[in-house]
């Protein structure tokens, strides 16, 4: 009788241990599945702390490389398209431009500080009917 009750108790404990293992395994799997589903459903970001310059740079660098990979491999939208022809250089000096002393006097920072282009051209050029493309 005593042997029987001990045996029964041990068998019950084994069943409980097995059930515990199953429960732990199932909870790990369910947690993973739920996390994955939540990540897809709510991918937004939030920022609540001040970012240092170094952190910002590192982040920008990291983000750019992520963006590049997503641009080429993940994106399903048609890519940004180049024009059939690239812009062409256009002669800028005109007879009108020589009669424009204000433009010469007001040579801006760009023409004054650009080392990789010709500053003189910036100050004196004018195309009377050119449409202006600039920031807005």
């Amino acid at each position: 009788m005593k042997f029987h009750s001990t045996h029964t108790r041990d068998a019950g404990l084994r069943k409980l241990a097995l059930m515990n293992r199953w429960l732990i395994g199932a909870s790990v799997i369910l947690t993973g599945l739920f996390t994955e589903a939540a990540a897809h459903a709510f991918p937004g970001r939030s920022k609540t702390s001040t970012t240092s310059s170094a952190q910002a740079k590192a982040k920008a660098s990291s983000k750019s490389s992520q963006g590049q990979s997503s641009d080429s491999s993940v994106s399903s939208s048609p890519p940004l398209k180049a024009a059939a022809q690239a812009p062409a250089a256009t002669a800028e000096a005109t007879s009108e431009s020589k009669a424009a002393p204000e433009a010469t006097k007001e040579a801006s920072k760009e023409s004054a500080t650009t080392s990789e282009s010709a500053p003189a051209q910036e100050a004196t050029s004018e195309s009377s009917s050119a449409v202006v493309s600039g920031g807005s």
């Binding site: 709510f42 991918p43 937004g44 970001r45 939030s46 920022k47 001040t50 970012t51 240092s52 310059s53 910002a56 982040k59 920008a60 660098s61 983000k63 750019s64 992520q66 963006g67 590049q68 641009d71 994106s75 048609p78 890519p79 940004l80 398209k81 180049a82 024009a83 059939a84 690239a86 812009p87 062409a88 250089a89 002669a91 000096a93 424009a100 801006s108 920072k109 760009e110 004054a112 500080t113 650009t114 080392s115 990789e116 282009s117 010709a118 051209q121 910036e122 100050a123 050029s125 004018e126 195309s127 009377s128 009917s129 050119a130 449409v131 202006v132 493309s133 600039g134 920031g135 807005s136």
Partner: protein, 324 residues
């Protein structure tokens, strides 16, 4: 070139809170083309403006958290905005509306207090980093039911894409109605359609679209497509004692801190060109490499005024030189 360009007809006026330029290769068609452009811009303004209480976009923003019925035009604009976000890895994100409001951009920018004589934002860490940027993937478009849903607290802003898209649509409408070549510039974002002049459309690329064509910059010509310029040197205002600009970095939710003052890109249409310029401003040092990888000709001007070109963007001609 001069004779060719002077044969063009053109007119300018204000719309969408900025200046509109229309050029045609056939002077006789100016009136009908302008009418088409005005109709197109009025429709887009009514659909996409963040500053009009009666716009569809304002209705969507006011209805954040629930599904809102929208018309075909806004649906298309939203799809385009999401395409821009996807193609740029989220650097051009329509959910930055709330961040713009928090930065003080809560009305037509011409009504905002001008910066206090500060020429450029000082380099360094972003001044304000606590911002709401929900992320473009939270926007749910239901094309079958013509409905859109944005999460509660999110405000959409289509400023990074809608203006250039409007230029593309207006140029196409003008060319179709007039039967000639048309160029439409909206706040410096330029779209063309139809047969171009023999020597192309002549464009002065500079910092500010309100500048004279003699302003420092470069003159180029394009035969088709679009050309857009984004700049942190314009549309700036003072808020909380700081100088703000209208380009938000979705990663920080704050006005972008970039080494570039102005970036111009030529592409197959103005929309793609503008997506590229905005993303390039946000991408900072990575911009030249990114643009080169896309094969887009570009001109980048640093804060200090140094010019860098990418891809097939032409070198600047010396004064008086004749292009080969």
């Amino acid at each position: 070139m001069q004779a060719q360009q002077k044969a063009l007809s053109g007119t300018e006026w204000e719309a969408l809170g900025t200046s509109v330029v229309l050029r045609l290769t056939d002077p006789a068609a100016l009136e009908v083309a302008r009418h088409e452009v005005e109709s197109e811009l009025a429709a887009i303004d009514l659909a996409c403006s963040r500053f009009r209480a009666d716009s569809e976009l304002s209705r969507v923003n006011a209805g954040a958290g629930r599904s809102v019925q929208v018309g075909e035009l806004l649906m298309e604009a939203l799809e385009l905005a999401l395409r821009a976000a996807e193609l740029t890895g989220g650097d051009v994100d329509p959910t930055v509306g709330r961040a713009l409001q928090l930065a003080g951009y809560d009305r037509d920018w011409r009504l905002l207090p001008p910066p206090d004589g500060e020429p450029e934002p000082a380099p360094g860490p972003p001044r304000i980093t606590a911002r709401i940027s929900a992320g473009w993937r939270t926007i749910a478009l239901d094309r079958a039911n013509s409905a859109v849903r944005v999460p509660p607290g999110v405000t959409l802003d289509l400023g990074a894409t809608a203006k250039a898209w409007a230029a593309d649509r207006a140029a196409a409408a003008a060319a179709a109605a007039s039967g000639c070549g048309a160029l439409v510039g909206i706040g410096g974002d330029i779209a063309t359609s139809g047969q171009a002049p023999a020597d192309g459309w002549v464009i002065r690329v500079t910092d500010d679209h309100r500048s004279e064509s003699s302003a420092p910059g470069q003159t180029v010509s394009i035969g088709s497509g679009g050309l857009a310029t984004s700049s942190t040197a314009v549309r700036r205002w003072s808020h909380g004692g700081h100088t703000m600009n209208h380009i938000i970095d979705p990663g920080t939710g704050a006005p972008v801190n970039t080494p570039w003052r102005t970036i111009s890109v030529a592409a197959a249409d103005c929309t793609d060109a503008n997506i590229a310029t905005t993303a390039a401003i946000v991408r900072a040092q990575q911009a030249p490499r990114w643009l080169a990888g896309l094969g887009l000709p570009a001109r980048l001007v640093s804060r200090e005024g140094h010019v860098r070109t990418v891809g097939d963007w032409p070198a600047e001609l010396p004064s008086g030189a004749v292009p080969a």
